[in-house]
């Protein structure tokens, strides 16, 4: 049933033999020094040409015969009771086919769903929304967290206080820790609400056939959407099919069936016609989630040698009318500290609910913690990188600091003169961590066809990271065939189950299932080849598309010729993700170095360059891995310098729900980025692949914040680092 294998695991300078027990039908985990032919090779996305040519069918592109267009009416009031909703006039407008009341009793944020219609054109649907009569009774509201924390603030929920009970983490004795500190910092840091700004907005196309529902959906989790729809419509899950062939981003905001998906399916059922409902950019900003704001009161102390003695965090955050605004995890995870206390409280305000966003809590926490550590290092007159080395618990990160410092030129640049005219140069470094390990559940199928093609099918979805490509690479590697002969078929609940793409868990969850399926298929193919080659299946190997007898490589048959011996149309085998077993380590480290230039007369910050050093187990495709590093850092630039969901205190409306006013980094705002990967053989699954989406993002904003403080000689403790704040900090020097 199970077998024990000894694996060479770890990283350069930290290798050891580890014995793991694995099921018999599981291929032995890839280990240190593994010889790959496909994995590890820079591979352009398989669907890149299709996307670049505009031929990849995103949900937005789906057109069905007789398809109607849905639109949602949203409350212009941030807090109101709804006395009545009258759909009569809207329903009678020429071209309107269905109308739906979605109001409920109370509106708690401007943008909350009130009603929806489906019509033959989107323009008619929007006209119809103007004809819906809603009787609102506006109520007092509060949209700023500091206002909501006051005892006399309007209550967001009548049932309870705006400020929630604290989540507390406590280790050691914080008071004692501060007593032994040679220096300490006591400061308040704030971060604003950031929105996901997925380039493809939320939305779906829903089509009924009797009691069978097919939904094309912009989602990170096709099976979650399927199951939610099945619950909502009281259908067996197999009656619901969800398709996400291509997805224009999610960043955590697209789990499960949200309003727009349920509404599209409801309208389609009422109208007896397919309905497409894609949200506008403004709707996307106000209603589909966000990264909560934070206010972090940090006390941190260290001994003369830089060793941390105590950290205390008092944190408030607001996820609007939702929760989940904590940011303490980096304080617990990044550095060694014997005495630590964190208290996180959620504050309700009348604003759209938070949803998970790329490393929930981490970028906020890292920004405050890393800035505080820099302030502490300055007091102790220690090099800021050295301060981090002293408190770093991870041997992998220690190596990454060295690689990064060398590539970035830390020692020279940290001491270089800062001024050139009105420009001040600065550098910063921040640490990353994550657990991009997989979860159980995914199953994959690998199919060889008589013409030599191989398909790998799995009900996952490519959130934009390159999942389709790395799945095909893993299958090609295991089967010993060229990548060109493998296609990855994903994004359909008709394939075997896989998990939502979130928590950096897609690559580590799917690749072991794919590899096992490919190994099982290889077993079947070798049994097919054995009689032809006059050898036992276990004496055969496949490489470069040729099946050979291991001991006599001249006795061979082309993979494509072997496939012609398949008796039917194809030969298929399944595989599954085996729960993680032992191995070396599940932890990921990482660090990022940033260079900035600040114009001290205008307060304008330019991020010039980044060096990022990361580990993610086996890097399947270095090209898409670098692409993730780029994306994580660019998003960090946006959080550091520009992005801020602004709500007008007079009306409770978001004032910048457009691509014009909600500022995202553009080409000229993007620094030069150099990425380095430290290979770690971890042996926790058969591939040892870890996810990267979050590890590459958590430190970016912090590194920029630290670099700006270095440039101007004063910390700017509030994000974004806009000219007003930078000028104020300079004025205070």
């Amino acid at each position: 049933m199970a077998r024990r294998v000894t694996l060479r695991l770890g990283f350069e300078g930290g290798l050891r033999d580890v014995v793991v027990t694995i099921p018999d039908d599981e291929p032995a985990p890839w280990q240190w020094g593994e010889k790959f032919s496909v994995v590890g090779v820079d591979t352009p996305r398989l669907d890149g040409p299709l996307k670049a040519a505009g031929r990849a069918p995103y949900t937005y592109d789906i057109q069905l015969p007789g398809m109607l267009h849905g639109a949602i009416l949203r409350s212009p009031y941030p807090h109101a009771r709804i006395r009545s909703v009258d759909l009569g006039v809207a329903r009678r407008l020429d071209g309107v086919r269905a109308a739906l009341d979605r109001s409920g009793a109370a509106v708690r944020f401007a943008g909350q769903e009130v009603a929806a219609v489906a019509a033959v054109t989107l323009e008619i649907a929007r006209d119809a929304l103007r004809l819906v009569k809603v009787d609102y009774a506006p109520m007092p509201f509060v949209t700023a967290m500091e206002d909501a924390m006051r005892p006399d603030a309007p209550a967001v929920f009548e049932s309870g206080a705006n400020v929630g009970a604290p989540h507390i983490n406590e280790i050691g004795n914080v008071a004692a820790g501060f007593e032994t500190a040679a220096a300490s910092v006591d400061a308040v840091y704030t971060t604003p609400v950031q929105t996901h700004v997925s380039l493809e907005t939320h939305g779906a196309v829903a089509s009924w056939n009797g009691d069978e529902l097919t939904v094309w959906c912009s989602t990170q989790g096709i099976f979650g959407v399927r199951d939610d729809l099945a619950v909502h419509f009281s259908l067996p899950p197999e009656n619901v099919r969800v398709i996400t062939a291509y997805l224009g981003g999610g960043f955590g905001s697209k789990f499960g069936a949200g309003h727009e998906v349920i509404i599209a399916a409801e309208l389609a059922r009422m109208a007896r016609a397919p309905v497409k409902l894609m949200l506008s950019r403004a709707e996307e900003h106000v209603a589909t989630g966000n990264r909560p704001c934070s206010q972090q009161h940090v006390r941190i102390g260290a001994a003369r040698d830089g060793a941390l003695t105590a950290i205390e965090l008092e944190q408030h955050g607001s996820g609007g009318i939702g929760g989940g605004s904590g940011s303490a995890v980096p304080y617990l995870a990044l550095y060694r500290c014997p005495n630590l206390r964190t208290r996180e409280r959620n504050v309700y305000i009348n604003a759209g609910p938070a949803s998970p966003m790329r490393a929930p809590g981490w970028p906020q926490g890292c920004f405050a913690l890393e800035l505080a550590i820099d302030e502490l290092a300055r007091k102790l007159n220690l090099d800021r990188l050295e301060m981090r080395r002293r408190n770093n618990p991870s041997p992998v990160r220690a190596l990454e600091y060295d690689i990064g410092a060398r590539a970035f030129g830390w020692d020279q640049r940290a001491r270089a003169p800062k001024a050139r005219g009105p420009i001040r140069r600065g550098v910063g470094v921040a640490s990353a961590a994550w657990h991009g390990i997989g979860a159980s559940g995914p199953q994959a199928q690998c199919v060889a066809f008589r013409d030599g093609r191989v398909a790998v099918r799995i009900g996952t979805q490519d959130v934009g990271t390159g999942t389709r490509t790395i799945i095909a690479m893993v299958a090609a590697e295991e089967l010993g065939v060229p990548l060109q002969s493998v296609t990855a078929e994903i994004g359909d609940t008709r394939y075997l189950f896989s998990l939502p793409s979130g928590g950096s868990m897609t690559a580590p969850s799917t690749t072991p299932a794919v590899r096992q399926a490919a190994a099982h298929l290889k077993g079947k193919l070798l049994r097919l080849a054995a009689p032809a080659l006059g050898a036992a299946p276990e004496d055969l190997v496949i490489s470069d598309g040729v099946v050979r007898v291991r001991a006599e490589p001249d006795r061979a048959i082309e993979f494509a010729d072997l496939c012609r011996r398949i008796p039917g149309d194809s030969l298929a085998a399944d595989g599954e993700h085996v729960p993680n077993y032992g191995g070396y380590s599940t932890a990921q480290a990482g660090c990022q170095f940033a260079g900035v230039e600040v114009d001290i007369e205008t307060g304008i910050v330019r991020v010039t360059d980044f060096v990022a050093v990361h580990d993610a187990g086996v890097i399947v495709d270095p090209l898409t891995a670098r692409s993730q590093v780029n994306g994580g850092i660019i998003m960090g630039v946006g959080f550091a310098l520009f992005e801020d969901r602004l709500i007008d205190p007079q009306t409770g409306l978001m004032v910048n729900p457009t691509m014009d006013d909600y500022k995202l980094p553009g080409v000229l705002d993007t620094p030069e980025i150099r990425a380095y990967f430290v290979e770690v053989a971890n042996g926790i699954t058969n591939t040892g692949v870890l996810g990267m989406g979050e590890a590459v993002h958590v430190a970016a904003t912090a590194a920029i914040g630290c670099a700006v403080a270095d440039a101007i000689g004063a910390p700017v403790r509030d994000l974004p680092l806009t000219p007003d704040r930078v000028l104020a900090a300079i004025g205070g020097v």
Partner: protein
């Protein structure tokens, strides 16, 4: 171990939540089949499958604590 990053699959899954409670990890399951809802998380964003909102049909906020209360009128037990 507190000085370690969050490790979702290392969590001991809790049980007894309303079947309508949703959060990112409610779409993941532990090897034993339980949904990976983590009441100790300070970053989980909860919503209700009945309303698609962070409050339930009774207009009260949803969450790992408040949606484990079988006496709440809208509570639906898991299968």
């Amino acid at each position: 171990m507190a000085n370690e990053p969050a490790n979702p699959s290392a969590r001991e899954p809790a049980a007894g939540f309303c079947a309508m409670l949703r959060t990112k990890f409610s779409y993941f399951r532990a090897p034993g089949g339980a949904r990976l809802i983590d009441p100790a998380s300070a970053t989980a964003c909860y919503s209700c499958m009945r309303t698609q909102r962070p409050f339930g049909p009774d207009d009260r906020p949803v969450g790992a604590d408040s949606c484990r209360d079988a006496d709440r009128a809208c509570f639906v037990p898991e299968d």
